[in-house]
Symmetry: C2
Subunit: 616 residues, 2 copies
């Protein structure tokens, strides 16, 4: 019974998701594109994610008992970060619990264990220095060193110091990055110490503001990566960067300006000063990171896809065009290979997968599927060119997961659709593509070879609602997800034979990649103890359906497949808040063996095999 | 007899100097303002300082025997860096042995032992990297690290790398500063590796170009410090820097532009590329260094005269406005106190005085007299405000040591003058002031209390030539150095009673400072094993006369008083060529006890006593 998904209905939006019992409400809400506020990171202490439930859920946790009295609990008040679903349930989400404008971007890591203790690279310390006097003419620099230890004072610091010390009557807060003095701020500003984590997605930029004294999330913001106007995917941006004299600079500047604007949003939301942010950690795929840093990505566009950077890059934030403290630091994640970038390193860091006892797989499903295997004390990573099918591209009525997209397809006696924004559908996004294919396979309308059956080939016991949707497009069988009368365009939303071929390619690439990594480690899929799903898209797919079409290994109990949310952002947070986190990131990048699937002859065989959907 | 100076006549200029037997010709030439070329630093191997002598000099050294055959030696060919004076001698200096346009600035350290082995901070190494290939997709950064070791690649390096590696077909010269990659130059440029040392004098800027692969001096250049137009002395520039919004920046920029122009002269003279210079070391007094770095010097202008910088400052050369290699480094010397600056640290470093077995004194005679004592394993340093008398200021007919200045006064039966440029005199410079006072004291025309005798008080046996020169100015006795008919102005060049009072103040300040430092160490002047004279001016004074007026301790054998030339430049050279040199400089600055004379009550008593000239 544990294997049966139950419906969770969110009000007032009416959005419904189907989840396994035991799923936390916060995760279920994310599946319905409802991102709840959780500045405490899911610790159950801030009370920001409070909801009112009617239906079956687990007993209140100690954190909930501290937050609510008996009357409130009886009335259904719960914390979404604490409560798990037990059966069908309705959840009333107050507006105050919603994260403002987080639309389709899941920019919070859900259920991620802390990757490293709080140990920021920048330290602040209030000191009162003895002012110079007759008999004490020690240089300003030495006076500071005596108080805070042997820090280096570079030119900028020594230029700043004489004025600052005298303005503050020799009392202020020394800001250091561990070995250099960055500033001497008037008064005691120890408590104003912030950091920013940035996830540079190819499509979406997300950023979180962190309190470096507590580790708390203070605000999250996201927006479209403006580089998309120069090309949707990594390769087209590489071409753009190389094609014109200032293409690289144009790309760099557009992303920098957008991230800088995000920082502005964050500081405005949290009501803090920009110059109290001292560190920014940036995570993205190799090309996004190079473009953001203004590093020529040409060698990433051709075999053997060579990155310029390997280890993480420490620099001044202003060198990247970011306006935080004038001496604030930036850290760009280390990369493993041309297509296994800082976001993957961040994912390994954030999921703490190397602390798992048994073989563990991390899969980031997207245009490039990144796959990491932790087994036998070793990390191996590969990327496969899954193509843009999961993001809705090359799918006739495909679209991104935005308003009007069918995001879920369930056959429950008849076909049911979930549409983002609860409007008439205009297309389908990746998760619905997987759902639809899984259901069609399950009901025998689609063969394991990927052929959509024609009307006259349909199995006799097929549900009438499905049989009625068999159609044709371009001379080949097609499937009507939504008839013309029910859509927002006045035309039907179709799933074509060609769409299913694209899905086969995308699925096959990831499946083959997983198979190769497992094979090199001498493992079978059922040996996996845990499968971690990373990335914004991964969060919206239904595990069961992903397994049905072979995208995820079938013979794994579903509770061992865990959604990890935006692990790129979560890893960036760990790096922004912790020197240990950065050291771990460097160790991860160095230790991970990069498997180049394109040169592995076994991959091509595995890819061909993996194009076949599993038997129902 | 050793104590008697002998005449050395230089041809074709006819300039004459009087030196002690044993003095090297190079040093004697410097005393005559003739700066000989010596790219090998006086090692006797380059042959650039060859001269032809007639008269008494020591036997040829092994280096000279290697350089010249018997016929050449018999014909008088010698190396000025090797040969010492034994008796009266005439030296013919070929034009080819002269250092071009070194005019009044002694910008070479004469007889300075190498302060540190060749060990430049920047390293160059030619490498051939394996280009990327299928199966070898290591990042560019990692490829370089594999070849040259664990260097850090900062943003600028990673931006540069992809293009450079591919332009050079992965073969080139890695330039590092020990821990960071600065460049990857096409081809093998290991032999093109240069450094520059800069002496930031209050009045004069001097710079030397060094070959960092051999340690050789390649060229030297000097010019007036353009900051003099904002004020002659340190204090007036501090006032200027603070008085206007952009005064500091104006001062900084003018010195930076002048030093940058000097670097241009040096590279043109040596025929090398500016971007093959990777390091610049800068030495000057505390205020000059702060102004050069753009660091507010206000606190240096008021009690207790606090510097901003203590330890040496490492930065990018371009941050200081210097155009060498774009990633080239600069090092600014550490300072000891507000008036004991990087030039003093450089002097201690260059003279290697801490390697002397017995108590050793280093004296830099100028507007500020800097005094360093090495005794009992300890360094103590002080500065005294001698005032500008030695530089010709506040002296009625005083002038700097330039054309037309009487630079030497000798009484040899009658008064003889040496005039710079062999023209009719227009004034006198500091060395002549000391000479004149010493001769007047010696011949009884000046009392130890500093009173110039009137015509009717003169001793009966006085040389007639001196007696005839007794005159009056402003109602007080004066002395005619050159009568109106023999001068370039048509007016007499006089030495007035007031001039002698200024000299008493200047001499007394330095003498008192020396006395205090010695007293604190429990030493008497005769305990000194060595007295080292530093600075451009110090090089031109006659030891005997400086002792006669009490400027230098009297009871020290004259050969223990050694000229060291421009030790600020020599120390900067050691820092430019050697990491060990820089570490030593830091150690020196840290270890030297700064004695603040202005707060020492004993100083004022000693100063009053020291105003009295020693008895003849």
């Amino acid at each position: 019974m544990l294997d049966t998904e139950v419906a969770v209905v969110f009000q007032p939006s009416g959005r419904t998701v189907y989840v396994l019992p035991g799923t936390r409400l916060l995760e279920a809400a994310a599946g319905a594109d409802i991102v709840l506020d959780q500045p405490c990171g899911g610790a159950g202490v801030c009370g920001k994610c409070r909801v009112r439930v009617a239906g079956e859920c687990c007993s209140p946790t100690p954190a909930e008992r501290r937050m609510f009295d008996e009357g409130e609990l009886a009335g259904g008040l719960r914390l979404a970060c604490q409560t798990s679903v037990c059966g069908p349930i309705t959840v009333d989400v107050p507006e105050t619990s919603l994260l403002a404008d987080a639309h389709q971007i899941l920019d919070r890591a859900v259920g991620t264990p802390p990757a490293a203790a709080l140990d920021p690279g920048v330290c602040k310390r209030y000191v009162e220095l003895p002012p110079p006097a007759r008999g004490d003419d020690a240089p300003d620099a030495v006076r500071v060193q005596r108080a805070i230890g042997p820090v280096e004072l570079d030119l900028a610091a020594v230029r700043l110091l004489p004025g600052r010390l005298r303005e503050t009557a020799f009392r202020g807060t020394a800001v250091t990055d561990g070995h250099r003095l960055l500033d001497f701020e008037p008064g005691n500003t120890e408590s104003e110490h912030f950091a920013v984590a940035v996830d540079l997605g190819t499509t979406t930029l997300a950023a979180a503001l962190l309190d470096a004294t507590t580790g708390d999330d203070l605000a999250v913001a996201a927006r479209l990566n403006p580089q998309t106007r120069f090309g949707d995917d990594v390769l087209s941006r590489i071409v753009y960067a190389g094609g014109r004299g200032d293409g690289l600079e144009e790309l760099r500047r557009s992303a920098a300006a957008a991230v800088d604007a995000l920082i502005g949003e964050l500081t405005a939301a949290a009501g803090i000063r920009r110059d109290r942010i001292y560190e920014v950690a940036v995570s993205g795929n190799t090309t996004m990171q190079q473009l953001f840093c203004g590093i020529d990505p040409a060698a990433l566009g051709a075999v053997p896809f060579v990155p310029a950077m390997g280890p993480g890059l420490g620099c001044e934030a202003r060198e990247l065009g970011l306006h935080i403290h004038t001496r604030g630091r930036a850290y760009v994640m280390p990369v493993i290979g041309g297509f296994v970038g800082g976001d993957t390193v961040a994912g390994i860091l954030a999921t703490a997968m190397t602390e798992e006892a048994g073989p563990t797989l991390l899969v980031d499903i997207g245009t490039n599927g990144e796959i990491v295997l932790w087994a036998g004390g070793k990390l191996t990573a590969a990327s496969t060119a899954a193509g843009p099918a999961f993001e809705g591209a090359r799918i006739m009525h495909g679209m991104r997961g935005s308003t009007g997209a069918i995001e879920k397809v369930v056959v429950d006696g008849r076909l049911r659709l979930n549409v983002i924004g609860a409007v008439p559908p205009v297309g389908l996004c990746g998760s619905a593509l997987i759902d639809a294919a899984a259901e069609l396979l399950h009901h025998g309308m689609l063969t394991p070879q990927g052929r959509l059956l024609d009307r006259d080939e349909l199995p006799p016991a097929l549900l009438p609602d499905l049989a009625e949707r068999a159609a044709h497009y371009d001379g080949k069988p097609a499937f009507v997800l939504a008839p013309a009368g029910e859509t927002g365009t006045g035309k039907p939303v179709l799933l074509t034979q060609r769409d299913l071929r694209e899905l086969q390619l995308a699925t096959g690439a990831i499946r083959a990649g997983i198979r190769i990594l497992l094979g090199r480690a001498g493992l079978a899929p059922e040996d996996l103890q845990t499968v971690l799903i990373a990335g914004g898209f991964g969060n919206f797919i239904r595990r069961k359906n992903a397994q049905r079409i072979g995208l995820l290994p079938r013979r794994i109990e579903r509770h061992r497949i865990r959604y990890q949310g935006n692990t790129s952002l979560a890893g960036a947070k760990a790096a922004a808040l912790s020197r240990l986190g950065r050291r771990r990131a460097e160790d991860i990048a160095q230790a991970t063996e990069h498997v180049d699937l394109s040169t592995d002859p076994a991959f091509h065989t595995a890819f061909a095999d993996s194009m076949i959907f599993p038997e129902a």
